[in-house]
Amino acid sequence: MALDPKFVGRAYGPFTYEVGVEKLREFAYAVGGSIPSMGFSGVGPPSDLHPFLHDKEAAAASEYGAVIGMPNFAVVFAITPFSKACTDPELGVDLLRLVHGEQEFEFLQVVRPGDVLTTRGTITDISAKKSLDFLTVTTESHNQRGEVVVRAKWTAVIRG
């Protein structure tokens, strides 16, 4: 069943996310090849993980002054409008037929512990190609100083 293009323009948010240092570390550990577990596993960071992503002293001496998030930590806080659109009962997307098709991120500010990030998103495209439906949500996330932290474009592909 084709998605109805009338939903283009539908907005989701704002959604707020408060950043903690252990979550930033866990995310970097999981992507970097270790276990995202601080107390329990004791495995620690992958040997080749950049120190700014986990080492408090190295990060404090950097221009950022604190541990920063991997740029793609944005998936944790900025995905909400996309998730809401994919599960919006009025759109009726079959999640078992959905795959992530395309992704764009523009990173404008680093993310630090204590940041409060607010994300808003809008459905910017619904289209069909052969038996595939495409659903695109565009998001923008701001920090507590009103700076744009990340702009993103999330595209799902739904198999017919």
């Binding site: 999981a30 700014f52 950022y64 740029p71 793609n72």
Partner: protein, 129 residues
């Protein structure tokens, strides 16, 4: 300061160990059952669980961080997910710097599995110098 040049190349190899989709689910919040439940992955026609595409994107970002030397200088990434990554797949990320202008570096990136198939297409990363 490090010298960057058009034509520079960089590479990173990552293997999807059996627990990686679960670890990534825990860290990212993406617990879609196609990533953590083999029966659901099979029922969806995927032949088992597949790695979250955004984890593959994270590996691509990490490959670029290793070259750029500073995670805070990654300015942009764009990818198309062209093929799922399954358990035990080994992905080789190969980047090539295509432009340096106005304090910005652009690189094209390929990501191929052990059979030489592209798991990402049209991948581009940009960094601030």
């Amino acid at each position: 300061m490090r010298a960057f040049a058009v034509g520079d190349t960089f590479t990173l190899v990552r293997t999807c160990d059996p627990y990686r989709p679960i670890y990534y689910a825990a860290a990212s919040g993406d617990f879609n059952p196609i990533h953590i439940d083999r029966a659901v992955g099979e029922a969806a026609g995927l032949g088992g669980v597949i790695l979250q595409g955004l984890c593959t994107l994270g590996w691509a970002v990490d490959a670029f961080i290793h070259y750029l030397g500073d995670p805070g200088k990654v300015a942009r990434i764009q990818v198309r997910f062209s093929r799922p990554v399954a358990i035990s797949d080994t992905i080789t990320f190969s980047g090539k710097v295509t432009a340096i202008a106005d304090g910005r570096l652009t690189a094209e990136l390929s990501a191929k599995n052990q059979r030489g198939e592209d798991v990402l297409k049209g991948a581009v990363v940009e960094g601030r110098l």
